[in-house]
Symmetry: C2
Subunit: 187 residues, 2 copies
Amino acid sequence: MATGTNTRDRLLAAAADLFYREGVTATGVERLCTAAGVSKRSMYQLFPTKDVLVAESLAAAGPDTNRMFLPDDAETRPRERILHVFRVQEEVATEPDFAGCRFVNTATDLRDPTHPAAAVARDFKQQLTDWFAAEARAGGAKDPALLAKQLTVVFDGAAARAVVTDPDLDGLSVTTATTLLDAAGVA
Amino acid sequence: MATGTNTRDRLLAAAADLFYREGVTATGVERLCTAAGVSKRSMYQLFPTKDVLVAESLAAAGPDTNRMFLPDDAETRPRERILHVFRVQEEVATEPDFAGCRFVNTATDLRDPTHPAAAVARDFKQQLTDWFAAEARAGGAKDPALLAKQLTVVFDGAAARAVVTDPDLDGLSVTTATTLLDAAGVA
């Protein structure tokens, strides 16, 4: 079967990879099918349009994208759990294929908040903000919801800096998160 | 003359507009020449490659892009001058054609730090950071260079939030900058 699960998984993986490395709009269906080793006919049997594939590949890649920043359960202190995210970000930003945040890039690239993939991007970004909020609450933050949004802003702004200015964030991500944690009373 | 100053200006303006609204990679030379009302032959007489046009159009649009956020000389208090930038950002983010930061988007879209336009993006972003640093110094910040980088991170992170999550920043940009100013001792 050319349209079985493997074909679907190969397409989703190739799409997530190419959309991240080369851009959503920049990656044509032709290039994508070649990379996945799948015919265009098979692709369109599984995904009626490129837009659907963009949304589904982002939905498939999203959980791992967020999860890689999160601490394991061994770390229980909310402040340290939050700072862990920014420490990982500083490492990830220096990787040769780092190209910024997958969700921000997709939403920006599409420039259409009504696109199905824009909703997926928003949901995953919200998941990170919700995670920050839960930790902030556990850490006794004055205003956990505000702190969570501020931390998300720092996360995305630091990613932008890594792309535009310097992949070596040199502690900026962690330092800025620390300042916000201190101000919010998360000791 | 089809290759005079007007042709050049029309191409630079159309390029800056389309690259911002639709993306650098997504905008082909054909589309660009049609928008500018210029033949491809004329374009290539003025700009040997699309890459050169991308860099020159960003260099031409850059000063106004940064300047629109800055206060006029009537405001002399460093803290207020810095917060002005974030107040303007909150307004700009709600404009229908807002698509994030022009410099960040170009660098991300190109995914090539050696591209001539990536250097232009870096320079203009650095100009904003340098402006923040000068104001932070005037305002008595403990570490003006660090605060300037932190403020730039907030600026770019808030722009990302406006694109991904909600164009209404609802004070987040100003509130976060305020927290950092307070922590840095800029009263």
